[in-house]
Symmetry: C2
Subunit: 341 residues, 2 copies
């Protein structure tokens, strides 16, 4: 029986005082004042916020470990400036570290980065180092569009990002490519922006040669890879049209998709089209879609059910549930081994 | 045996002098001069550009009729101003009318609109009326992001678009929602921008109540609906989360997906998840992906093969190939009936 590792969880149930501080911080930014001190949050508050929510559902669904990061839609890198973003990222990452400290068997930390539109990556690099070396985190979330919905950042293959990639490689930590909330009224965050950004990221990688420069760099593209597996023929065909190498060698040693696809036919296609070595179990619960599917009577985001139903070998299922995640996140593997798992 | 109607074809092989005029037109705009007169293009040039390309492939693949519109990536509404866009749209639509005149059994016209970022819709409405009432066109392509890749236009549900919708309803012509070339270096046109825009459009419709105001308005979302069918569970779940009506009643009397999905597993999922009444056969050839799939030995964009391979009834296949298109494009139906088909 393999471990069930959910590679995609966010702290969407953080204590209210944490969120109130964010409101105070951004209000203070607008009026040019200093933000108030970060509140004292008790272990009991954090414990309850997890125990009643993610941990309860994990138990019910049979999940063992969740890679846990700050709420994606609340990263909001487009709000405030680089200093605001740094303080917010540190507060969030410190809170994740406390969750992991309280539930070391159930969570491993993944950090957000203090990105800010137009700003450089020095603080993001420093924060990644701090989270990995001091807090024991195993990866990061990288926002490819910190502007929040107009896609004005350089492509992921641009040399702008290279210093961060060098740090990721040195630390042997992957990144999930994950945008945040949308400040574009035409783009709903979880219904439009997330899925569009996932698709765009993959195409940027297809057009470029990033993994020639960084052969060990690893990205997870969440939400089942956006539209990519559904349009796999288009991407194979475009690679051919654009005289790029075959996608399998060009990208698929470095790019992984999670299983945050909320119905059986989608997961069936994912597992059919994408090599199992490139699929990491994920659910993003408690997240974008929290309801129960009237067609199945189960939660839309209980993605373990869909993987359980796949007609694949147990070795393939174990790859999706456990071994791929341990390979893509070596620091998770080290952590689990230290726990005797 | 049903007619095979391809609802999604662009004149990607227009005569070189047409494209040279566009270059001259945009150069003249930059220098503030008047554009040169539009060139004389012979019937023979148009004939050859079609006969050797779209028509040859249609014959080889067994397609009967193609809904034919100007090259999507060359609409480039973001280039120049509203006047430039109007002249370019008229030149393109007139050229489509000539193709249809030369091959009346094989093509029906779909127009581009002279949209321009920040401009109103008066010229688009006038051009749609001209194309439908004077040139006999059966539909239009509507660009939801004429800015070319930063998604700065109002959502499709915004009242900004209502005068155009009123005209569409009055003329009983649907629109394919189709962006154009990308001026955003981070967004590859056919690999990122198109698929992202399709997905975004659907979510805009899900969030809104457009079809309450326009119960007979009809949109085709191309490229298999972007990411939507693959993430059908997400969209059903988001409708629930956002307290929207069930998607089937809320959207699927008005929204249709084409079959421009370039591999069998994608088409299998589309036909599995989306009701057949909402699927219109399309190939977008000669278009984004022109090569041969080494896995099948057939063209990626020979989508008829994928439909032929579906395990569905012949009545369902006829709906996808013919009857849905005749229902969604009533003016096509009238035209075909006048031809005794």
């Amino acid at each position: 029986m393999s471990l069930i590792i959910d590679c995609h969880g966010h702290y969407t149930t953080a204590p209210p005082s944490h969120n109130r501080w964010r409101e105070a911080q951004t209000s203070a930014f607008k009026t040019g004042e200093a933000p108030p001190p970060y509140p004292t949050i008790s272990d009991a508050e954090i414990y309850a916020s997890i125990e009643e929510n993610q941990l309860r559902l994990s138990r019910e669904r049979g999940l063992d470990v969740t890679l846990f990061s700050p709420r994606a839609s609340a990263m909001a890198h487009h709000v405030g400036d680089a200093e605001v973003s740094l303080a917010w990222a540190r507060a969030n990452n410190d809170l994740i570290a406390r969750v992991v400290g309280l539930f070391p068997d159930s969570f491993a930390g993944v950090c957000m980065l203090p990105q800010s539109p137009g700003a450089g990556l020095a603080t993001s690099i420093a924060e990644l180092k701090r989270c990995v070396t001091e807090l024991g985190f195993v990866g990061c979330n990288l926002n490819p569009d910190p502007g929040g919905g107009h896609f004005q950042s350089p492509a992921l293959t641009d040399r702008f990002w290279y210093p961060l990639y060098e740090t990721m490689v040195a630390l042997d930590t992957p990144a999930m490519i994950h945008v945040s909330g949308s400040c574009n009224p035409a783009l709903h965050a979880t219904g439009a922006y997330y899925i569009a950004a996932d698709t765009i990221a993959f195409m940027q990688l297809l057009e470029g040669d990033l993994f020639k420069d960084f052969p060990s760099l690893r990205f997870i593209i969440p939400h089942g890879g956006g539209a990519v597996p559904y349009h796999w023929g288009r991407y194979r065909g475009l690679a051919d049209m654009l005289k790029r190498p075959d996608i399998e060698t060009h990208l698929m040693n470095n790019v992984f998709f999670d299983t945050c696809v909320y119905h059986q036919p989608g997961i069936d296609l994912l597992a059919d089209v994408i090599a199992n070595k490139n699929i990491l179990f994920g659910s993003e619960m408690i997240g974008a879609v929290r309801g129960i599917d009237p067609k199945t009577g189960a939660f839309f985001d209980d993605t373990k059910r869909y993987i359980d139903a796949l007609e694949i070998s147990e070795a393939e299922r174990a790859a999706i549930f456990e071994t791929n995640a341990r390979r893509v996140f070596p620091r998770l593997d080290t952590r689990l081994k230290a726990q005797g798992r």
